[in-house]
């Protein structure tokens, strides 16, 4: 078996920790420009660091590392869960028509195109 196949959990945890950590840290850094502070971002950042620790443990004890990684994931989801729910809600929300071009193709009360 090639050496890198032995390290699948390590790479998975490591890459996920770095990517999520960088993303959340960049969001946290925006607070200096007046963006409201969200405490869940700190919890998520802590989760990314625990995931990095899990990557380290996975080299020695993969099963214990998986449990640590699962806890880390729960911490990270505390931010990504509500954020994803908000994103989905706003994406699928129907926007009401505020102004219409009466007499042409657009309905005055519905957002559907005729």
């Amino acid at each position: 078996m090639p050496i890198y196949f032995d390290m699948l959990p390590f790479f998975l945890y490591f890459v996920a920790a770095v990517i999520t950590g960088f993303h959340v840290y960049s969001l946290l850094a925006l607070t200096v420009y007046g963006v409201p502070f969200n405490p869940l971002e700190v919890v998520s950042l802590l989760g990314s660091m625990v995931l990095l620790l899990a990557a380290c443990i996975s080299l020695f004890r993969p099963y214990a590392a998986a449990r640590v990684a699962l806890i880390a994931c729960l911490l990270i989801w505390s931010f990504y869960g509500p954020a994803t729910a908000n994103l989905v809600r706003t994406r699928f929300q129907r926007h009401k028509v505020v102004a219409t071009n009466c007499g042409d193709e657009w309905d005055a009360t519905s957002s559907k195109h005729r």
Partner: protein
């Protein structure tokens, strides 16, 4: 823009993988590439040290925080009794730079309320202070809470024939004065 989606995809993958590994039966099962038992000793040591070093470095960077950046605070000196808008125009050629005192920029506003400086505008987290001055004596102006005398602070950039002009503005006066001048401004438009 791809970063949030990449984060979500990786997070989902790690959650599923770690949940499967955590709850699966381990007795009598041969190790495979997807569920390895352990890596080589040399790899363990090298990667373990690297990850721990990265973890310590990250803790240090996060502990320092973005608030410790090189942004300096400013001390605004406003003429005693001045009420109205104050404007500071930055990066004006030929204008004097802002002096510094005790690690703070000293921004002494002239009687007309407009200051030109060749210094660059400061961005980031900083605690600015405001004072009325009359000759050598100064006394502080509250910029928050009850009795606040600083309002409508804004930063902007205008472009004209002489190029782009960065500026900062704020209003000095009571809440009533600020509201009444806002109404006057609206009615004049």
């Amino acid at each position: 823009m791809i970063l949030p989606f990449l984060s979500l995809a990786l997070l989902t993958a790690v959650t599923l993988y770690s949940a499967i590994v955590s709850f699966r039966q381990t007795e009598g099962i041969e190790p495979s590439w997807i569920f390895p038992i352990r890596t080589k000793r040399s790899t363990q040591i090298v990667l373990g040290i690297l990850v721990l070093a990265l973890l310590i470095a990250l803790s240090f960077i996060i502990g320092r925080g973005p608030r410790q950046e090189s942004t300096r605070s400013s001390r605004f000196l406003i003429p005693e009794g001045y009420t109205g808008w104050v404007r500071i125009e930055f990066e004006v050629q030929g204008a004097p730079p802002l002096p510094m005192e005790g690690g703070e920029y000293i921004i002494k506003i002239p009687a007309n309320g407009v200051l030109h400086t060749s210094s660059a505008e400061q961005y980031g987290w900083a605690r600015d202070r405001y004072y009325y001055y009359s000759g050598p004596s100064t006394h502080s102006l509250p910029d928050s809470g009850e009795g606040d005398l600083i309002w409508g602070k804004l930063n902007g950039e205008t472009s004209g024939t002489s190029g782009k002009q960065k500026y900062e503005e704020f209003f000095v006066g009571t809440a009533e004065q600020f509201k009444s001048q806002s109404k006057e401004k609206e009615s004049s438009h």
